[in-house]
């Protein structure tokens, strides 16, 4: 069974047909990279899995999106609950205007965790998982804005991990960061794979090659090619994929 799956998924922004019949599945403990030129629909597709597209007016969805085999667009699904199972990391670091500790504790608090010891414990483990603990353990009370961009992004990852999701959606998580911070995030993704299903949207071919097991190439709202990362980069079946990964367009 796939951890994440979509069947003939169509998405429309008003009259614009943004996703055209996407059918694919992603397994647990694997990293899947979504690549493709800007506007190809890869971020839109990613946001279907935690229903972030609900926030936009005039969005219409046809087809099925399954998380652990459950259709998440059926009426009985509580969106808030879904989002605690499907965590998300955004393109730009977006910490809350709160302390480092409170940023990580936020997800626990909004989901009703009151036990202080449990919260403190979860904050520590999450920060350790995100490889940030050693850098911030002495200044947990400081504002999250005092951290560097790379640290902020790892804080956002820790924040997403604190509520123990089973899936992690990453929307270009390293595009706003310097090479050293990027390397740290990639290392992190590699380690997190053991416990999570990870999707990473990226514009960086090398990054996709380094971190992912599978790669999906999107073009104009269509899934052009999906397979082992190795195969996509070395022997793509579709000429559009070949042109893109070799840098001829995009």
């Amino acid at each position: 069974m796939y951890s994440l799956e979509s069947k003939d998924l169509h998405l429309y922004y008003g009259d614009f047909h943004a996703l055209k019949g996407i059918t694919m599945g992603m397994k647990k403990n694997e990293v899947t990279a979504f690549i493709g030129p800007s506007g190809c629909g890869k971020s839109t597709y990613l946001r279907c899995f935690n229903r972030m597209n609900d926030l936009i007016d005039n969005v219409r969805i046809d087809g099925e999106v399954l998380v652990d085999g459950v259709d998440i667009y059926q009426k009985s699904i509580l969106v808030d609950d879904l989002r605690t199972h499907v965590g998300m990391v955004f393109q730009k670091p977006n910490p809350f205007p709160k302390s480092i500790f409170e940023n990580v504790a936020y997800g626990l608090r909004v989901n009703g965790t009151k036990d202080k010891n449990l919260i403190a414990e979860r904050v520590e483990t999450s920060l350790k998982q995100a490889a940030l603990w050693d850098e911030v353990k002495d200044k947990l009370k400081k504002s999250a804005f005092e951290l560097s961009g790379g640290q902020q992004q790892r804080l956002c990852i820790a924040r997403a991990l604190a509520i123990e999701p089973s899936v992690l959606l990453m929307d270009e998580p390293a595009s706003a960061l310097d090479p050293i911070s990027t390397a740290k995030i990639e290392e992190l993704i590699y380690q997190l794979k053991e416990n999570y299903t990870i999707i990473i949207v990226t514009h960086n071919m090398q990054q996709a090659g380094r971190v992912s097991d599978n790669t999906a190439f999107f073009y104009m709202g269509e899934l052009v090619e999906y397979g082992k990362t190795k195969n996509i980069f070395t022997s793509p079946k579709d000429t559009r994929t070949q042109n893109y990964v070799t840098g001829r367009f995009g």
Binding site: N50, M52, L55, D57, D80, D81, R83, T84, G87, M88, F90, Q91, K92, N94, P95, F96, P97, K98, Y106, G107, R109, V110, N111, F145, C156, R159, A160, I163
Partner: protein, 401 residues
């Protein structure tokens, strides 16, 4: 050549812009200097009513009294000279109209030509007397000495509890009731406007869809464009009778009426500023909250409000500023009694309303006139403090980013 003209044009425009900046600053400066020059003149004035004189018998050791003591004497709260530092003898009050009790009309002359002489006689005969009459009846060889009045001090001006700027024989210039009235009404207004404005702003910024928002925003901004006299009229005709009926009061013109009207008037400012502040909350930050399983309302009160808190405080302070300076509507609905208010259901008199109502009848350059200017200075300082705090809050906001 063309280039030369181009440069000249640029210079000319720069010059005009600099000039208008300078003229504006100079005008503001001039107004402030004028305000304070007139206002501070008050403290070199004797508080005796214009053209009047207060005299006592020559044997009376009392030489100087404060305006408050004179009022107490004339109100018969002080009845013995001992209480104001004189001999142990009862005080006999004399007003000019009492003269016929002492002298028949023929002794005063047909045109009161003997009046100064009779007054002098009367004061010299009565050791307990205190007399107040117009200065023109003070004869050259008057038997008795005039009472010196203490100058108005800043302390008695700010701390005085009575505001009777035209009372005779000594005017009472205590502005405490007016300051407190202003603060009460403004405080009440913000108490009403802040929760309502905050709720409306949350609705327009976060909950309403674009269609509702695009109708609601112009309506709210229209509220700011209604002339204040119209608000006052509305308050007088609708609100005042309503308050009178609901609370069973003898009069409906109360601090509460002023607070409600001012609250409504401050609403557009509060809603607009808060709405703008909330809408600067980055979309990414709200999405991050929702992505962690927070509900919409949790996101609003845990992320949006903390993020825009300095904008909200700015809105509140601007709202208070609007309320403190507002004149016409308050003048019409608050009843204008210059007493220190104890509840919201009493009439109050605010500083702006006092200035507007009394400036017309105060002779230019007189003590009353200057007292009104001093009130203007107080109001100016109050709004200055408010503006400075807005700047400080916004500066803090910038530092936080």
């Amino acid at each position: 050549m063309k280039r030369y003209f181009h440069n000249f044009g640029e210079r000319l425009i720069e010059g005009i812009l600099a000039l208008s900046g300078a003229v504006t600053s100079l005008t503001v400066l001039l107004i402030v200097v004028f305000l304070f020059k007139e206002g501070l003149g008050l403290f070199s004035q004797h508080p005796v009513s214009e053209g009047g004189v207060i005299v006592v018998n020559n044997q009376n050791p009392v030489k100087e009294l404060s305006a408050k003591q004179i009022k107490e004497i004339y109100d018969q709260n002080i009845t013995n000279w001992k209480e104001v530092g004189g001999k142990n003898q009862p005080i006999k009050i004399f007003r000019l109209e009492d003269i016929t009790d002492y002298y028949p009309e023929e002794q005063l002359g047909a045109n009161f030509e003997y009046l100064p002489q009779r007054l002098s006689e009367l004061v010299s005969k009565q050791p307990e007397i205190i007399a107040y009459f117009p200065e023109q009846y003070l004869s050259k060889n008057f038997q008795g000495h005039p009472i010196e009045l203490e100058n108005i001090t800043l302390g008695s001006f700010l701390g005085g509890k009575e505001w009777y700027p035209t009372i005779q024989p000594a005017v009472q210039m205590g502005v405490l009731p007016l300051i407190l009235g202003t603060l009460w009404v403004s405080f009440g207004a913000i108490l009403i406007a802040l929760p309502l404005g905050l709720a409306a702003a949350i609705y327009t910024a976060e909950i309403a869809d674009n269609k509702v928002r695009n109708t609601l925003k112009p309506v709210i901004e229209l509220l700011a464009g209604i002339p204040s006299v119209v608000y006052g009229f509305f308050g007088l005709v609708v609100l005042v009778p309503l308050i009178q009926k609901v609370f069973g009061l003898p009069v409906g013109e109360t601090a509460l009426a002023g607070s409600i009207i001012l609250g409504i008037m401050a609403l557009p400012t509060i809603i607009s500023v808060t709405d703008d502040a909330m809408r600067t909350t980055p979309r990414a930050m709200k999405e991050a909250s929702l992505a962690l399983g927070a509900t919409k309302w949790q996101t609003i009160y845990k992320v949006v409000i903390p993020y825009s808190i300095s904008g909200i405080s700015t809105a509140a302070i601007l709202g208070i500023g609007r309320a403190i300076g507002e004149t016409m509507a308050v003048l019409m609905v608050t009843g204008n009694a210059s007493v220190i208010p104890h509840t919201f259901l009493e009439p109050v008199r605010t500083i702006p309303a006092t200035i507007a109502a009394e400036l017309g009848e105060a002779p230019q350059g007189g003590i009353h006139f200057q007292a009104l200017f001093a009130l203007g200075c107080i109001l100016f300082l109050m709004t200055l403090i408010i503006n400075v705090s807005v700047d400080m809050v916004s500066a803090k906001k910038k530092a936080n980013r």
